[in-house]
């Protein structure tokens, strides 16, 4: 059941612009897929498949890359989130914006996925601490 949720999550991320959804919702769906996996499979096996440490990494990298992609147009003269100045040559501005936002959405999705998972793991930690 888990892979299906993940697939649906990815679909939501990719078709965010003109259908309801987008980076944030997609990320939440992905996170829920892992959480569902955690709940039903128990911790030992689920941690093996998807250790919390990796979730933390994914969250951080996702956010970092999002900021970087948003920054790239700045180096090429555009405004902060203005993807029409992306370096890909042959596409005109409108399409460029489309792809730019798509890339940004992906990174947001991953970032949200990672961070929500971290929240869940932190709350359910076993050891005292």
């Amino acid at each position: 059941m888990v892979p299906f949720i993940q697939l649906f999550g990815l679909y939501v991320i990719f078709h965010g612009h003109y259908s309801p959804g987008g980076g944030f919702q997609g990320g939440v769906l992905l996170a829920t897929s892992i959480i569902v996996h955690r709940l039903c499979m128990g911790y030992k096996e689920s941690y093996a498949k998807f250790p919390p440490q990796r979730a933390y990494m994914i969250g951080a990298i996702g956010m970092f890359l999002f900021v970087l992609t948003a920054l790239t147009p700045v180096f090429f003269g555009g405004a902060f989130l203005d993807f029409s100045f992306l370096p890909i040559p042959r596409l005109e501005p409108a399409e460029l914006r489309y792809y730019g936002i798509l890339i940004a959405e992906i990174w947001i999705g991953i970032a949200v996925f990672g961070s929500l998972l971290v929240i869940f793991d932190k709350l359910t930690e076993r050891r005292g601490g």
């Binding site: 003109y18 259908s19 309801p20 944030f24 929500l116 929240i119 709350l123 005292g128 601490g129």
Partner: protein
């Protein structure tokens, strides 16, 4: 009183706000305070969504049949704002939960007055 029915949604929002506020301030248990907070926030989101409604408008995604005039689409802007507000409220609840965890580990109780005495020593 006639137009009370039109504004029924406002009344619900006000009730929710009252519940949320009471939950946050009235209740002793910290978890109940968090629940009160979330109710309060959702009430506000409802207000925003309700504000953007137009009777007869469809989902704000352009489909060729309906053409482009704004009249038959509901106003998308509040929805977008609420999207961010939801992100914020989840983050706040996340932080609140982490705090509660820490308090619970130290004072192993979530009743505010119990914690207060334990804090005294």
């Amino acid at each position: 009183m006639t137009d009370i029915t039109i504004h029924y949604s406002y009344i619900i929002i006000i009730i929710l706000l009252a519940i949320g506020l009471y939950g946050m301030l009235g209740k002793r248990n910290l978890i109940k305070k968090c629940i009160g907070l979330t109710i309060f926030q959702t009430a506000i989101f409802l207000f925003f969504i309700e504000g953007g409604l137009k009777d007869g408008g469809t989902v704000p995604v352009i489909d060729p049949s309906l053409g482009v005039e704004a009249i038959n689409y509901i106003n998308p802007l509040p929805h977008v704002m609420i999207l961010t507000a939801i992100v914020v409220s989840t983050a706040t609840t996340g932080v609140a939960m982490a705090l509660l965890l820490k308090i619970y580990r130290k004072y192993n109780s979530l009743e505010e007055d119990v914690i207060m005495e334990r804090m005294k020593e």
